[in-house]
């Protein structure tokens, strides 16, 4: 029974995440940028832009320039999250890929980086007057959601130990549309429920910053307006 409830939850969450995100990306890609507005100095070539974007999404370059505390907490959280996600691939693959095995020890402790990062960001929302001012209830809820996921995950890893072998069998089954037995461990149930919630809210929340950054004209445009004429289709129509 539990297996079926969570199966439905995960299929629905996955569908919402994939379709929602794809449609947002489609809208961003389809919407024209009528003018060249890179924040300059900006790269003069396409490969330069790729490098700029790489520095932005891997090192959070602009954030680093802006505020070292936000950068530190934000970067810790995101990099920790990537390691944890990579580590979690082991529950969806059989046999486990070599490079996932390699990341395993780092992935375990990366949870602490996520925890510290989230804690720091949350503290700033409460303690720094300016950031408190711009915070909406949804910003606290998002932090609570992420914190809940991290804490419940850490609980299973470091405190109560869930029946992880059964969980993996269940997950591998879900991927073949074969619903099996899911252990009725409350911490596991909470963890998976929160993850599914995160997947569902992704396309309708500020988590859209993830695809959004790649479509930001101030970051992804080449600074070559004098060399190459840039014109949006709707603007070209004004000329005829």
């Amino acid at each position: 029974m539990l297996g079926y409830i969570y199966a439905i939850l995960f299929y629905a969450a996955t569908a919402i995440l994939v379709i929602g995100l794809a449609s947002k990306i489609w809208i961003y890609a389809r919407t024209p940028a009528p003018l060249k507005i890179p924040t300059t100095p900006a790269p003069k070539t396409r490969s330069g832009v790729v490098l700029r974007m790489f520095r932005e999404v891997v090192f959070f370059e602009s954030l680093y320039k802006s505020n070292k505390w936000i950068w530190l907490f934000g970067w810790m959280f995101h990099m920790g999250m990537w390691l944890v996600l990579i580590r979690h691939l082991r529950y969806f693959t059989q046999p486990v890929w070599g490079w996932v095995e390699l990341a395993q020890p780092f992935g375990i402790y990366a949870a602490f980086a996520m925890l510290i990062g989230l804690g720091g960001l949350w503290a700033r929302r409460v303690l720094v007057e300016r950031i408190k001012y711009i915070t909406n209830p949804s910003d606290h809820l998002m932090l609570a959601l992420l914190m809940g996921i991290v804490l419940s995950g850490m609980m299973m890893r470091f405190v109560t130990r869930t029946d992880i072998v059964s969980v993996k069998v269940y997950m591998l089954g879900l991927m073949r549309f074969d619903v099996g037995y899911m252990p009725a461990d409350p911490v596991l149930m909470l963890h998976l429920f929160l993850v599914a919630t995160l997947m569902i809210v992704f396309p309708v929340s500020k988590l859209l910053h993830a695809p959004g950054v790649f479509f930001s004209p101030s970051r992804n445009q080449v600074d070559n307006p004098r060399e190459k004429r840039h014109i949006a289709p709707w603007a070209a129509k004004l000329e005829s």
Partner: protein, 511 residues
Amino acid sequence: MAPKDSDDIPRMHHPLEIPKLKCGAMEDSAPYPASPAHQASVGFPEELLPDWKERALAKMKDLAEKNRAFKVYLDACVKCGACTDKCHYFLGTGDPKNMPVARQDLLRSVYRRYFTFAGKYFPKLVGARDLTEEVLDEWYSYYHQCSQCRRCSVFCPYGIDTAEISMAAREIMDVVGKGQKYCNEIIGKVHVVGNNLGLQEKALRATLEDLEEEIEEDTGVSVRLPLDEKGADILLITPSADFFAEPHIEGLIGYAKVFHEAGVSWTISSHASEAANFGLFIGSYENMRKVSLRIRKAAQDLGVKRIIFGECGHAWRVAYSFLNTLAGPWDFLDPKYPVPQHILEFTWDQIQRGNLKLDKSQNDHIRLTYHDSCNVARASGMGDQPGGQFEIPRNVIRAVCNHFYDMDRDTIRESTFCCGGGGGLLTDELMDLRTKGAAPRMTALQQVTEEHGVTHMAAICAICKTQFSKVMPKFGYDMESIVSVHQLVSNAIVLTGQGGAEDEDGEEDAA
């Protein structure tokens, strides 16, 4: 004479000092509304329409479909707070709605309410709100407290540019009939007369002739400032302030001397006697395009080969970044030169070729710093390298001036502070805002005055120059302390035939 609102000038210990929040401190600041005639002159409704709300929302939807920046920026913000201490108006006023993210949220909250799932069904949760007349008034106040300088966009991890949001907000207000007098009146003048000041061809011709006489009196050399000369190689497009106001006019004299020494033929156009394009400030692509097309027509009518822009910040943004889009392609001009060029690109090239004879000691009475204008620094470029917009002006300054000192690194180049008067806010009724917004820049200037005895500040933007000549006296400087870069060039340049033979001999002996 003590300025009348001297007690209201923010005293900062450091240009980046973050103030305590003062909620509502600037809620009464608003520019004069456009009159029905001003609105009509730029193609907008004469007064607030009865169905303004529906039209505003329709325009918002339209913008989200036509402008990727608007759409992505409204969605992507995570409220991290990185931008909160980056706006000069926030630093100067402490009003939290002048924090870039809070300024964006004034519009984002409405966008969410009507166009997003979360805002439609959980408005309280995500800070979404209905569009009401109070909201519209709040927009009018605070979107006219943004100079569209893009400093926040440098520091945003997603590159969110509040200027894009503020331009969109102003466009929405314009199409429902709530326009701003200063910008719309000026754009109307450009459409009709050809420049922001409404300066007619006759007056312009007389002004240029006066300047020719003045240069001849000063130097003994006849330097021309041609108007509407067909077949000239270069069309100079320069802000109309260059024709009549100090220190702008000294810059124009500088351009004329440089052209003279370079031995090129050039002309000003009475049809396009204005570099400024306030269509940018009100976010109106159509108006910006119409203003830009004047330049295309002037270039075609006069049969020029190149276009060069004078010292103007936002005009250079429109010229460098948008002119090819709005009024191109420029295939009828000489392909050897970028279209358009900046006067500093031209002058620096002439200096490198050794075509200009410069006597730096003519500027020895000046200890100089340089203010990077926001639209040049963060929205355009110069030369063929990224960052040329920082290096080329400084190269020229160092070539004509012996005493040059940069201000705090966090207040120059891409991190430069706005002068406080950009983005269509250079109007008297906003003087309080302009003074407070200038405080971070003025504080950085005071630092180099203390450390290096700096007496003057150079800028390459007509708005910056006008703003500084108004606000610098409030911070203890003369209004003549703001100078054009080409004013310094003009001081240093030794025209061929100027000053007699002894000078040349002396030069040779020294060498």
